[in-house]
C-alpha cells in the first residue's frame, strides 16, 4: 500500500487523543507506550504519513525506528474505529511499506545542536528530539503544519526537569509551550484561533510521562501529575468508590483544570473552576515553582474579564494538582426526561437545579444522544431522524441521582425513562435507525404527545421488545474483521451503563466522526430567557454562514444561578471554504454573545480555570454597547489578521 492511497484517510485525522488511553481494555499502542513521542502513537503516525505523502518532510533515520516498533497489533484499529470509524492500521502498513522502499541515502541525517544537547542533559537522551519526522507528528495539535522553523520536543518526568526546560528556553530566547493530550489544540487549530493557540518555533513540552496518581480515600482527594488523563484519574478514583469531576476521557486533567476549569454535567453539585481544586503546583514563565497554597503569592484567584482578557496560551505550567473526589452512592440511577421543546426542558431542569436535585444534571440534545450512543455515524443519522420525525425527542433532561431525588423527578416529570431503556437504545440503535418506515413509529408520531405515548404507556414495552438486540447484532454494523471484538466490547455491562458512560466520558469524541467541530457557547445567568437568547444567537450565527450548528449540552452551576451551554459548529475541516465560514460564524457569535448581559463566551474563560468562579462570573457583565461591539472586528483583525490569513 502506498502513502498516497491513505492520504485522504490521514486528512480526516482529528487528533482526539483517544488512542493514548486504554478505554477498551485492549491495552494501548505498545510502540507509543514505550517511546512516548506522538510519532510512535497511531495519531502521530497518521500525521507523519500525511507529511511524507505531501512531501512536506523528508524521511529521517528515526522513521525506520517508528515503523519497526509498530507490530501491526491492531489495537489502534479497534480503539480508533470505536470512536472515529477510521482504520489507522492501514496508514501504519503504508508507512511500513514506504519505509521498506527507502535506501540509506534517502534518509536525512539530523544533527544534534546545542539546544538539543542541553535538553537531553535535562530529560535523558531518549526523551528529547529535534527530528523532523517526530516534529511533524505534532502538526495540527500544537503547531501549524508546513513550517520551517526550529522545533524541539522534550518529554520531562519531573517538575525540576520542566523548570530546567523553561530556563533553557529563556536563555536561548525561544518560546515553549506545554502539551497535554492536544485536545484543545486540535479543536482550535483549524480555526482563526490557530496562530493564537499554537507555537511558531521552540520547545514543545509533552507532559505525557508525568502520570503519577495518588488517591487519599480518607481525605477524598487525588494528587496527580500533568500527564494523567480524565479516564485514568476516574479509573483510580472508582477503585475507592469515588468520582472526580473530569472532562472528556482523553483530556489531561491538569491542563483542563488550568485552562477551562472542567465544566461537566456534575457541576451543579461538584462545582467548577477552583471549586474542586485543593492545591496546584505551577511553574511561571521565569521558571519559578509556586503553589496555590503558598502564603506569599499574589492573589491566585482573581482574574481579568471582558474582551481584553482573552488569553489562549497558558502563562503557567501546572505540574501537580490535588483535587477533591466525591462519593459514589449505591442507589444511583440515571433518569431521563424527554422533551420536544427546549423551553420545556429548561423549565424542568432549572427547577431541579434550584432544588439541588441530582448529582449530575444537564439538558442533552438529540444530536448528542444519537451521536454518542450510536456505533456509527450512519446509524446516528438514522436514529436522529427517527427521534426528530417520529418521537419528537429533541432534548433530554438527564439526571443521575439517588433514590429520593428519583422519586421527586418521577412524580413531577411528564414522562421518564431510565438506564435500562438507554441500554436498549444503545444495543438497538442500529435497529431503531432502520425503522424509519415502521408502522409502530408512524403510529407513535400521530399521537398528541408522542413522547408520553412511547415512554409512559404500553407502547414502551413494544419498543423495548422491538429494539431487543444483542451485542452480536449491534456488532454487525462494524467491518467484518472487527465484529467479534465489538461483540465482546458491548457484552461488558459498563459499556451500556449510562452512569459509567457519564462518569468515564469515552463517547463525546464520536461527534467528530463525520465532520470536525468547534465548540461555541459559554457561561451565563441561569434564567430561561438568557439561555434561549444565547442558544438562538449561536444558531443564528451558524445559519448566517451556512454552518451546521447544534445544541450540545447545558449544565448548571450554583443551584441554577448560572448555566454553561455548549453549542457546536460542525464543518468539514478539510474544506478551506467551510473553514472560512466557520471563522466568520465564530466572530459573529462572539459579538452576539457579548451583546447579551451576563454572558461570557467560552474562549474568554481560557486559562482562568484555577481562578475562583466568583471572580470570573461576578459582577455580571453588562453586555457591550453597539459602539463597543464594533471594536470586536478591529480586535479580530489585530489579533488574528484579516480573512486572507484564516
Amino acid at each position: 500500500m502506498k502513502l498516497v492511497d491513505v492520504l485522504e484517510a490521514a486528512k480526516k485525522e482529528a487528533h482526539c487523543g483517544m488512542c493514548r488511553i486504554d478505554y477498551l481494555d485492549t491495552g494501548v499502542c505498545p510502540s507509543g507506550k514505550s517511546h512516548g513521542f506522538l510519532a510512535y502513537w497511531p495519531e502521530g503516525r497518521v500525521e507523519l504519513a500525511r507529511a511524507l505523502a505531501e512531501k512536506t518532510v523528508q524521511p529521517t533515520e528515526t522513521l525506520l525506528d517508528i515503523v519497526k516498533t509498530c507490530t501491526l497489533c491492531g489495537f489502534c484499529d479497534r480503539q480508533c474505529h470505536f470512536i472515529t470509524q477510521l482504520r489507522p492500521m492501514k496508514v501504519a502498513q503504508a508507512l511500513k511499506d514506504y519505509a521498506a522502499t527507502l535506501k540509506p541515502s534517502d534518509l536525512k541525517h539530523v544533527p544534534e545542536d546545542q539546544i538539543l544537547k542541553d535538553l537531553r542533559a535535562i530529560v535523558g537522551k531518549e526523551w528529547a528530539t529535534n527530528d523532523p519526522n517526530i516534529i511533524v507528528s505534532y502538526n495540527r495539535s500544537i503547531m501549524r503544519p508546513k513550517t520551517n522553523a526550529a522545533f524541539y520536543i522534550a518529554m520531562p518526568r519531573t517538575t525540576e526537569e520542566i523548570v530546567a526546560i523553561v530556563k533553557l528556553a529563556n536563555t536561548h530566547k525561544i518560546p515553549y509551550l506545554p502539551r497535554g493530550n492536544g485536545t484543545f489544540f486540535s479543536v482550535t487549530m483549524n480555526t482563526l484561533l490557530s496562530d493564537a493557540v499554537s507555537i511558531e518555533q521552540g520547545i514543545i513540552i509533552d507532559l505525557w510521562r508525568m502520570k503519577d496518581i495518588q488517591i487519599d480515600p480518607v481525605a477524598f482527594t487525588a494528587t496527580i501529575g500533568p500527564g494523567v488523563t480524565s479516564f485514568e484519574l476516574q479509573k483510580a478514583a472508582s477503585k475507592h468508590k469515588l468520582r472526580a469531576n473530569v472532562a472528556e476521557a482523553e483530556s489531561h486533567v491538569c491542563a483542563n483544570a488550568q485552562n477551562l476549569g472542567i465544566i461537566t454535567t456534575w457541576s451543579n453539585t461538584y462545582g467548577w473552576s477552583s471549586d474542586n481544586v485543593i492545591d496546584a503546583e505551577k511553574i511561571d514563565q521565569e521558571g519559578n515553582v509556586m503553589h496555590l497554597s503558598d502564603l506569599e503569592v499574589p492573589n491566585p484567584y482573581a482574574t481579568e474579564r471582558g474582551l481584553m482578557s482573552l488569553s489562549l496560551i497558558p502563562n503557567v505550567i501546572v505540574t501537580s494538582l490535588t483535587v477533591k473526589l466525591h462519593p459514589v452512592f449505591d442507589d444511583e440511577e440515571n433518569i431521563f426526561v424527554p422533551y420536544e421543546k427546549l423551553e420545556d426542558a429548561i423549565d424542568f431542569a432549572e427547577n431541579l437545579a434550584k432544588h439541588n436535585i441530582g448529582l449530575s444534571l444537564a439538558i442533552l440534545s438529540r444530536k448528542y444522544l444519537t451521536e454518542f450512543i450510536s456505533p456509527t455515524h450512519d446509524v446516528a443519522e438514522g436514529f436522529d431522524q427517527v427521534a426528530k420525525q417520529y418521537l419528537k425527542l429533541n432534548y433530554l433532561v438527564d439526571v443521575i441521582c439517588t433514590t429520593n431525588d428519583r422519586k421527586y423527578i418521577e412524580e413531577t416529570a411528564p414522562v421518564t425513562f431510565d438506564r435500562k431503556m438507554v441500554k436498549s437504545l444503545i444495543l438497538g440503535s442500529a435497529k431503531l435507525a432502520s425503522m424509519k418506515d415502521s408502522s409502530l413509529l408512524k403510529m407513535i408520531s400521530e399521537e398528541e404527545h408522542p413522547l408520553k405515548a412511547l415512554f409512559g404507556g404500553p407502547l414502551r414495552k413494544h419498543l423495548e421488545k422491538g429494539l431487543a438486540a444483542s451485542p452480536k447484532e449491534l456488532a454487525a454494523v462494524y467491518d467484518p474483521d472487527l465484529r467479534d471484538f465489538f461483540e465482546k466490547v458491548y457484552s461488558r455491562p459498563h459499556m451500556t451503563d449510562s452512569i459509567w458512560l457519564h462518569t468515564f466520558r469515552i463517547l463525546p469524541c464520536r461527534m467528530e466522526r463525520k465532520h470536525f467541530w468547534m465548540y461555541r457557547g459559554g457561561y451565563m445567568p441561569g434564567d430561561k430567557k438568557t439561555i434561549i437568547r444565547v442558544a438562538k444567537a449561536l444558531d443564528d450565527s451558524a445559519t448566517k454562514y451556512g454552518i451546521e450548528g447544534a445544541f450540545g449540552f447545558l449544565s448548571y452551576l450554583e443551584r441554577g444561578k448560572f448555566a454553561h451551554l455548549e453549542y457546536d459548529y460542525y464543518y468539514d475541516h478539510t474544506d478551506p471554504d467551510a473553514r472560512k465560514r466557520v471563522n466568520h460564524a465564530i466572530v459573529d457569535s462572539w459579538k452576539s454573545q457579548f451583546s447579551i448581559p451576563g454572558v461570557t463566551p467560552l474562549e474568554f474563560i481560557c486559562n482562568k480555570g484555577l481562578r475562583r468562579k466568583e471572580h470570573i462570573l461576578y459582577p455580571l457583565a453588562e453586555g457591550l454597547s453597539e459602539e463597543e461591539l464594533t471594536l470586536v472586528d478591529d480586535i479580530v483583525e489585530s489579533v488574528f489578521g484579516g480573512e486572507e490569513k484564516w
Binding site: 518560546p175 482573552l310 489562549l312 463597543e628 471594536l631 480586535i635
Partner: protein, 135 residues
Amino acid sequence: MVKYLTEEWAKQAKQIVLDELDPKKDLKNMNAILLNVVQNVPPENKTVYFYIKFVDGHLEELLASPDEAIKQKQAEFTVTGDYVTFIQISKGEMSSAMALLKNRVKMAGNKMKALTITKPIDNFNACIKKLQTEY
C-alpha cells in the same frame, strides 16, 4: 540601514510616521501615551525604553533610549517584553495584540481604552516596519 531602538532609529521612525500616516484616517485621532519596556537588548542585555505620544492622531513624541528618565514620563500604557518579541512585532511577524494574547508581552493600563487603539497602533507598527532596520 539604521540600528533598531537607537536615537537615530527613533528620529527616522517619527519622521516616516509623520510623512505617511494620516492622523484622522490612519491614526483615528487617537490620544495615547505608550511606554514600551524592551528587555534584554543586545549586546549588553540592557533595557531600552521606547516611548510614543499621540495627541489627536498626531505623533508628538517618539523616543528610544536606555535612559531610565523616560520612565518618569506619564504613560497610559506600559508594555513590557523581550527584545526578540519586539523585533517580531516590528518586523510584522506578530501583531502587538497577538504578542499580548500569547503572553509574550505584559501590558499595564486601561485595557478597555487599549481596545480602542489596537487598529491605529497596528497602522503605526506597519508604517515603521518600512524603515530599513538593523536588528
